[in-house]
């Protein structure tokens, strides 16, 4: 393939091929991202295959697709009959497959109880008008899927489908008609900023690496996504891996790197698999390798798997890990753009940053800069999790408020409980209370408010979450992940954690809060890398907004949220009717009682999981 026109011819050919299949066959797409599989997609697939065989259907094609981001509705199954609208079904169980096959696949009637939405298409004969339009349902209305545009729509294992939807046109345009300087200018003009959390202007970063002179340069994709609660990058890599490959190739050309690495955490085996397949397919098709598009530019992409170290998401530690060493950060300068991997100029960007690149090159920087706010252009993908009704991925234009994301898209708090706080920025970030919900999602507004964008994880907490426990939870995490190299982080986080552990166990002392604040300031100022410098943030944020909870734990030995197990216990009151449900459900057999008699909890066995209280039909169990 030598020119953009060659690629466009290939694209037309693949579109035609897909159209022919769509005109003759019923397509069934099953969401087989990690979330879908965790919800039981494989069993649904098996049921589907069996049902199709049982009905002797020869005109059905089953395809796998990635995460569309509607995790709460998994398992998601889409059905498209020839010349008809695509309908998405949610919460599909193996037992639902029969009715889907008989009613929709064979009968052409939508199964309304399971239907989530339909994709309206002007070119179809039948639209299933009584199923709501997918893009108009509450979860989707305020979203704009650009980075996620192909996730859950195409088959990630098919380079043909990627090309059919316009894939690799960005790379072709860049290599056949632009200079590296022009590419960097376009990225600068677009206003794209790093999506890993730092928010550094991408074009400027590429300029630094471009300016360095060396016999070898490297470009790295940070796919470590270690923030607990974040899975945006996983979904992009599983659902649209070629998007990342294309973005990296364009970046490599811009900075002058002929070798690229994707450093991806080993906890994402499906993403690793899809990326490997994508790289092989891209090599075979000529989008990677030597002399791509006859431009003289060669680019080889390799995968390096992480081995379970959060600190390796920090760029200098990441490079150490690629070199086969312990992932321990080092001071900067020298910055990676000057001296990075194996001492050579290196540019590191996050998955989502690369996922924005190709479309900026195709649609132009002006188009991109037309979205978002003055300082933050484009869209951001957020992972909505925790005590929220609709968990999943939400891609919104910068400038959307947090309230809109949590309440309009996320549907508000699960079980109609009360919102308490949302953790933004993972273990490096902080929690935001109700009063901050109208903050606009953009880098600068969040920093001004004392928070940060982070990688995009939003963990929602309700009235039953203890904020002291949240701080303790994050410190436990960062303490375990601390590499140990610098004293402030290694010793400091340990001491902070000891204090927090004492507090949640009811052994807090006067002066503990002040000591925590003192330690926090010292660690922030003196730790070697971002992990240590930001480790105290969750403590400082919870102290800022929820100091009263700390004081209640310390002065009154009480947990206002009723969550800290050392300070609460479950009690079966005399409302108990002896139905025995709690006894049967208790996972550790801690409840005793005869039929129709008062039941009692054995506190030596009780693990305080709350199952008994959650399921008691007479609300006879309380937490004290």
């Amino acid at each position: 393939m030598k020119t953009l026109a060659d690629l466009q011819t290939l694209r037309a050919e693949y579109i035609k091929k897909l159209q022919i299949v769509a005109a003759e066959k019923v397509l069934v797409l099953i969401g087989m991202g990690t979330c879908g599989i965790a919800a039981g997609a494989k069993q649904v697939m098996v049921s589907l295959q069996e049902e199709i065989k049982a009905h002797n259907l020869s005109n059905v094609v089953i395809k796998q697709t990635g995460c569309i981001g509607m995790c709460e509705q998994e398992v998601l199954v889409d059905i498209v009959r020839p010349n008809e609208a695509r309908v998405t079904y949610g919460k599909v169980k193996p037992s639902d497959v029969k009715i889907l096959v008989e009613e929709h696949i064979i009968g052409g009637r939508a199964v309304k109880e399971l239907a989530v939405g339909r994709y309206p298409d002007a070119n179809v004969d039948k639209g299933y008008g009584d199923v709501p339009k997918y893009r108009e349902i509450d979860f989707c209305k305020k979203q704009q899927h650009l980075v996620l545009e192909h996730c859950g729509v195409i088959d990630p294992s098919s380079i043909e489908e990627y090309i059919a939807v316009g894939g690799y046109e960005g790379l072709a345009k860049v290599l056949t008609s632009m200079t590296p300087e022009a590419v960097i200018d376009e990225i600068k003009k677009s206003g794209l900023r790093g999506r890993g959390g730092g928010g550094f202007p991408t074009g400027v970063k590429w300029q630094f690496a471009h300016n360095s002179q060396a016999d070898q340069k490297y470009i790295i994709c940070n796919a470590d996504e270690g923030d607990p609660g974040a899975f945006m990058d996983r979904s992009v890599m599983e659902g649209d891996p070629h998007r990342v490959v294309e973005g990296m190739a364009i970046g490599g050309f811009a900075i002058g790197a002929t070798e690229g690495y994707v450093y991806i955490r080993a906890e994402y085996p499906l993403a690793v698999k899809h990326l490997r397949e994508a790289i092989t397919a891209a090599e075979q098709a000529g989008f990677l390798g030597d002399n791509i598009f006859g431009s003289g530019f060669s680019f080889h992409l390799h995968i390096k798997e992480g081995a379970g170290a959060f600190v390796c998401g920090e760029e200098t530690a990441l490079m150490q890990s690629i070199e086969g060493k312990r992932g321990m950060p080092r001071p900067r300068p020298p910055f990676p753009a000057v001296s990075g991997l194996w001492g050579k100029p290196t540019n590191i960007n996050n998955v989502e940053t690369f996922a924005n690149v190709a479309m900026i090159m195709v649609k132009g920087a002006d188009w991109y800069a037309g979205m978002g706010t003055d300082g933050s252009k484009g869209t951001k993908v957020f992972a909505l999790t925790g005590k929220i009704k609709h968990t999943g991925l939400a891609e919104v234009p910068m400038g959307t408020t947090i309230r809109e994301i949590i309440f309009d898209i996320g549907g508000g708090i699960a079980e109609d409980k009360k919102f308490k706080a949302v953790q933004i920025g993972g273990p490096s970030g902080g929690c935001l209370p109700e009063s901050m919900l109208d903050l606009s999602v953009d880098y600068d507004s969040l920093i001004k408010a004392g928070a940060m964008m982070g990688s995009g994880g939003l963990v929602v907490m309700d009235e039953t979450t203890c904020m002291v426990d949240v701080a303790r939870f994050f410190l436990t995490f960062t303490q375990a992940e601390s590499c140990g190299k610098c004293t402030p982080c290694r010793e400091g986080t340990k001491r902070m954690l000891e204090i927090l552990n004492r507090i949640v166990e009811g052994k807090g002392r006067e002066g503990d809060i002040e000591l925590l604040e003192d330690l926090a300031e010292t660690i922030k100022d003196t730790a070697l890398c971002g992990l240590g410098q930001t480790a105290p943030n969750p403590v400082l944020a919870t102290l800022k907004y929820f100091r009263n909870e700390y004081e209640a734990h310390i002065k009154e030995h009480c947990c206002p949220a009723g969550s800290c197990t050392a300070l609460t216990k479950y009690v079966i009151t005399d409302k108990c009717k002896g139905c025995g449900l709690c006894k049967r459900n208790c996972p550790v057999g801690a409840i005793e009682g005869g039929s129709k008699g008062q039941h009692k909890i054995d506190y030596n066995k009780c693990i305080k999981c709350g199952t008994c209280m959650a399921n008691c039909p007479f609300k006879a169990i309380v937490r004290e």
Binding site: T34, C35, I37, A38, A39, C71, E72, E74, E225, G226, D227, P228, G229, A230, F231, A266, E267, Y268, P269, K304, E305, G306, A307, G308, A309, F310, S321, I322, E323, G324, K325, R326, G327, W342, A383, L384, T385, G386, K387, T391, L393, G426, P427, G457, V459, V460, M461, T465, F473, F477, A480, C483, P587, V588, K605, I607, K608, C609, G610, T611
Partner: protein, 154 residues
């Protein structure tokens, strides 16, 4: 019980990476896939063959949480303790697992069937709380589901 080492397999892995740079971690990952852990004898062999000091190899093995120096069970249970899982009851799942198996996180059952581990985040947060058994990911976990799910792994 320590594994029986097949050095030919180890040599194959070494040959695969012979022409690349920075290959220690992928080599160790592939060796661990063979035995479910990193036997000391193999680490010594790797040191000999790669000329990387054993102390450095040991340093790498103990730095990364996915490397294990002791034999593990047939089924590895990874109970997610990430933020989303924690907020949705992850601690209760871990407690139920520990009680049901009679071991603590990091340990293996006496019959060698299950090893219980915690993991910081599996990235399936939309279905929290989550637990993995070998390659199977189980979402929307509750403490009561633990015995039934584990019974399926013979």
């Amino acid at each position: 019980m320590p594994a029986e080492i097949d050095y030919q397999q180890v040599d194959k892995i070494l040959a695969k990476y012979a022409n690349d740079k920075g290959t220690l971690i992928p080599i160790m990952q592939e060796v661990q896939n063979l035995y479910n852990y990193l036997p000391k004898a193999v680490l010594e062999y790797l040191s000999q063959k790669t000329e990387i000091p054993l102390s450095e190899i040991y340093g790498v093995a103990t730095f990364y949480s996915l490397f294990h120096l002791n034999p593990r069970g047939k089924y590895i249970i990874r109970c997610c303790q990430g933020t989303a899982c924690h907020v949705r009851g992850g601690a209760g799942i871990l407690a139920a697992l520990e009680k049901h198996l009679g071991i603590k996180a990091g340990e293996t059952t006496a019959d060698g069937r299950f090893t219980l581990e915690t993991v910081a985040c599996l990235g399936a947060c939309g279905l929290a709380p989550v637990m993995q058994v070998n390659e199977d990911t189980h979402g929307r976990m509750t403490p009561t589901k633990v015995p039934t799910i584990l019974a399926g792994y013979k």
